[in-house]
C-alpha cells in the first residue's frame, strides 16, 4: 500500500507543474494588465509603464515564470497587488472558510444522497422512489445561486431565522453555534445539486448490486432485509459510489464560487473572482495552484480509499 501511495504522489508532480504553466499562461494572455485595472480612468501609457515597473511586470514572460516557480518552491507565493498582503496568508485564510463550507456540503450531499439513492433502489418504482426521483430532479435543475438568493429572501429577510451573509457575526462571541447559524443556508444551497447527482448514481449502483447472486443468497438464508440492504448491498455498491463522491468533492469546491458570492462567504472562490477582475496575477496563480494541489491530494485519498475497499484496484 505504501508503494501505491508513493507512486500516486509522484505522478501528481507533472500534473501540478502543468497547472502552474497553464494558469501562468492564461493570466499572461488575458487582455488587460494589473496596472490598467488599478489605474482605471488614469491608465495613460506612461502611468501604466511606471506602475508595471513598480510591480515587477516589465520582465520577460519566461523569466517571470521561473522567478515565480522558484519562489513558490521555497514557499514564497509573492504579494497580492490588490490586497497588499502575502498571497499565501490570504489563500490559507480563505481556504479554511471554503473547506468549512464545502466540507459541510460534501458531508450533507454524501449522507443524504446515498440514503436517498438506497431507499429509491430498495423501493424501485414504488411511491418513495418516485417521490425521491422527483425531488432529486428538482434539486439538480435549480441553479444554486438562485436557490441561495431565494433562501436569503425567505429565511433571512422575511422570517429572520438566519443571518443574510457572512461567516461570523460582526459583534459578539465566535463559537460553534453562531458558525452553524451562518453556515446553514450556504451549506444547504451548495449541497442540493450534488445531493441529487449522488442520489441518482447511488440508486443505479444499488440496483445493479441488488440483482446479484450474493444478495439473493443472503435473502434466502433469512438475513433481515434491512441488513441485506445497508450492510451487504451498500458495501458492494460503495465501490461505484466513492469515485462519484470524489468528483462531487470537486463540484462542491467549484460550486462554492457562486455560493460564496451570494452569501458573502469569505472563501477562496470569491477571492479568485475578485482577483481575476482586478488582474491580481499572483493571487490568481497562487490560489489556483493551491486549490489544484488540494484537489489532486483529495483524489489520491479517494483512490486509496477505493483500493482499501476493493483490493483488485491496486495493481
Amino acid at each position: 500500500m505504501t508503494g501505491y501511495i508513493l507512486k500516486r504522489l509522484i505522478s501528481a508532480i507533472p500534473v501540478l507543474l502543468g497547472i502552474s504553466v497553464i494558469v501562468f499562461l492564461i493570466m499572461a494572455m488575458i487582455p488587460g494588465d494589473p496596472a490598467t485595472a488599478i489605474l482605471g480612468s488614469y491608465a495613460t501609457p506612461e502611468n501604466v509603464e511606471k506602475l508595471n515597473r513598480d510591480l515587477g511586470l516589465d520582465q520577460g514572460i519566461v523569466s517571470r515564470y521561473f522567478i515565480w516557480l522558484g519562489n513558490m518552491l521555497q514557499g514564497d507565493f509573492g504579494r497580492s497587488f490588490a490586497l497588499n498582503r502575502p498571497v499565501l496568508d490570504e489563500v490559507t485564510d480563505r481556504f479554511g472558510a471554503t473547506l468549512i463550507l464545502a466540507g459541510t456540503s460534501f458531508v450533507l450531499c454524501s449522507v443524504f444522497g446515498i440514503a436517498a439513492g438506497v431507499i429509491s433502489a430498495a423501493r424501485q418504482y414504488g411511491f418513495a422512489d418516485k417521490a425521491i426521483t422527483f425531488v432529486v430532479l428538482l434539486g439538480i435543475s435549480i441553479p444554486s445561486f438562485f436557490l441561495g438568493m431565494m433562501m436569503i429572501l425567505i429565511f433571512a429577510v422575511k422570517l429572520r431565522w438566519f443571518p443574510v451573509s457572512g461567516m461570523w457575526p460582526i459583534y459578539g462571541a465566535r463559537n460553534f453555534w453562531v458558525l452553524l447559524d451562518h453556515l446553514a443556508m450556504p451549506a444547504l444551497a451548495l449541497a442540493v445539486v450534488a445531493t441529487g447527482v449522488v442520489a441518482r448514481l447511488a440508486r443505479s449502483a444499488m440496483l445493479e448490486v441488488l440483482r446479484q447472486d450474493f444478495v439473493r443468497t443472503a435473502r434466502a438464508k433469512g438475513v433481515p432485509e434491512r441488513r441485506v440492504i445497508w450492510r451487504h448491498a451498500l458495501r458492494a455498491a460503495m465501490v461505484a459510489i466513492i469515485p462519484v463522491l470524489g468528483i462531487q468533492a470537486g463540484f462542491v469546491l467549484s460550486g462554492a464560487v457562486y455560493i460564496e458570492m451570494v452569501f458573502q462567504w469569505p472563501g477562496v472562490g470569491r477571492m479568485l473572482v475578485d482577483a481575476i477582475l482586478k488582474r491580481d496575477i499572483l493571487l490568481v496563480q497562487g490560489g489556483v495552484v493551491f486549490i489544484a494541489a488540494c484537489y489532486v491530494l483529495f483524489n489520491i485519498l479517494v483512490d486509496v480509499a477505493q483500493a482499501l475497499l476493493d483490493p483488485r484496484i491496486k495493481t
Partner: protein
Amino acid sequence: MTFLSLPRRAMLAATAATALVLTITGLQAQTPPDVLIVGQIAEPQALDPAAVTAVNDFRILMNVYDGLVRYKDGTLEVEPALATDWSIADDGTEYTFTLREGVTFHDGSAFDAAAVKFNFDRMLDEAHPFHDTGPFPLAFFFSAIDTVDVLDPQTVRFTLNSPYAPFLSNLAYPTGLIVSPAAVTQHGADFGRNPSGTGPFKFVEWRSNEAVVVDANPKYWDGAPDLQAVVFRPITDANTRTAEMLAGGIDLMVEVPPVALGEFQGDAYAVHEQAGPHVWFLILNAKEGPFADKRVRQAANYAINKEAIVNDVLEGTAAVAAGPTPPAFAWAYNDALEPYPYDPDRARALIAEAGVEGAELTFYVTEGGSGMLDPVAMGTAMQADLEAVGFDVKIETYEWNTFLGNVNPGLEGKADMAEMAWMTNDPDTLPFLALRTEAWPDKGGFNSGYYSNPKVDELLEAARVATDQAERARLYQEMQVIVQEDAPWVFVANWKQNAVTSDRVGGFSLQPSFFLLLDDVTKN
C-alpha cells in the same frame, strides 16, 4: 419495511438539529446603538491613502485621515482642514501653508511640517527611504510639485515646477490625505493594514473579508464624533447588500441598485441622493467614418433619448448631461447650457445633409466598470435610438479591463463610438486629459475619439495656470459652450450617487465629492 426506519431516524435527527439551531439563535439580533454598520461594495485594497485608487477605499479613508484642505460641506470648493491658512505666490508656483497647532496622529505622534514633507516625499521621491511602501498609482496628481520645504514646524511651502490651478483641489482628494510618518516607519509595507491618521475615527482592526472597524477619536480637532464606532462590511453582491439592509444587518448602504430602490420606500428607511462630479458619455470617432462630420455627431446627440435612459434604464439614478462638465462643479459649470433635446427628425435631417444615411457603426460597449452604471442596457437602448434614425449599429461587448485596453489606445480603425464614464475632483481633469489635441492617445492622453479644436486647447491651458477661481470659471464655461456645439461626445448622464439609511440613523447626507463623511452621523 423496516429498512426505512434508519433514514426516517436520520430525517428526524436533521429536523431536530435545525430546530435546535433556530432556538439557540432565535431571531437575528439588531445592530448595537451608536455603532454604525456600513455595507460597502468591496473589500478595501489598503488603508494607505497614497496607495489606493478606488472610491470604495476612499469611503473609509476620509473618516480616518485629514488633508491639508477639504471640500466644504455639500460643495466641491476647498476650505481649511489641517492647514488653517495658505498663500499663493503671484506666479502661481509657490503655495505656503500654515498648519493647525496641537494636532496629533492616532498613534500619538505630532502632526507638523516635517510630517507633511514626509508624506509628499514618500510618494514623489524615488530615493525616499519609504518610497518602496508603494506603488503610488495616483502620485501624478502631485507631479507638479518640485520641492516641499519645512519653513518652521507650523509652516510648509510647496514649490511647483509650473503654475497648476487644480493643486488645491488635488490636496483635498484622498491621495493628499496625511498619514503618520511614525506609523509608516514602524510598519513599512504593512502600513496599509495598520493605518494612522488625524481623522475623526481611528483604526481598530481589519478582519479580512469581514469588516474594517474604526472607533471614535475623542481628541478630534474638529469635535469628537457622535458615534462610538463604525464598521465597514464588504458585501460585493448588490442583491445580498440589499437583503442585508432589509434584514437589519447593516444601517447604511451605498450604491443601491436602481431596481432595488422601490424596496426602501416608507418610514423605516431614508433614501439619499446626490449628483456628483461624474459624466457618462459616448466617445465618437471624429477622425474617420461618419462621425468625422460635426453634423453627424450632433445628429447622434439629437437621436438618443437621454430622458428615457435616465428614467427607465437607470430608474432616475442619474440626470441628463448637457455638456462635458458635471453640474456638481457648481462654480465652473455653465448654467446656460441646455442638453441636446430628443429630436429624431432633426437627427435624420442632419444625417441626410451629411449624406451618411444607413451608415454602419461599430459601437464598443462594456459589461460593467467604475462609474459605468448599467452599460449593457444603456448601450442597447442607444443602439435602438440610432437605428431609428437610420444607422446600422453593431455592438461589441467587452469585459471592463479588456474594454479599456481597446478604447484607451484610440478608436481609429476599430470603432465609431465607445461608452465611457469619468469621475473627477476638479473641472480641469477630464477635459484636459480627454478633449485636448495634445491628449490624443499617441501622445499619452485619453482623447480616444481624436477631437481637436485649437480654441478649446487654448482655453484649457489658460484655465490650468490661472490661480483666480473666477477667471478659471469663465474659461471653463466658455469651453463647455464650444465643446457642446462641436459634439465630440454624446453627452448622456450625470450619475446621482445614492445611499439608504435605516430610521435609526440621523445626520447623514451624501457629498457631491462622493466621499462618505460620518463624523456628524448619529444612531440610536
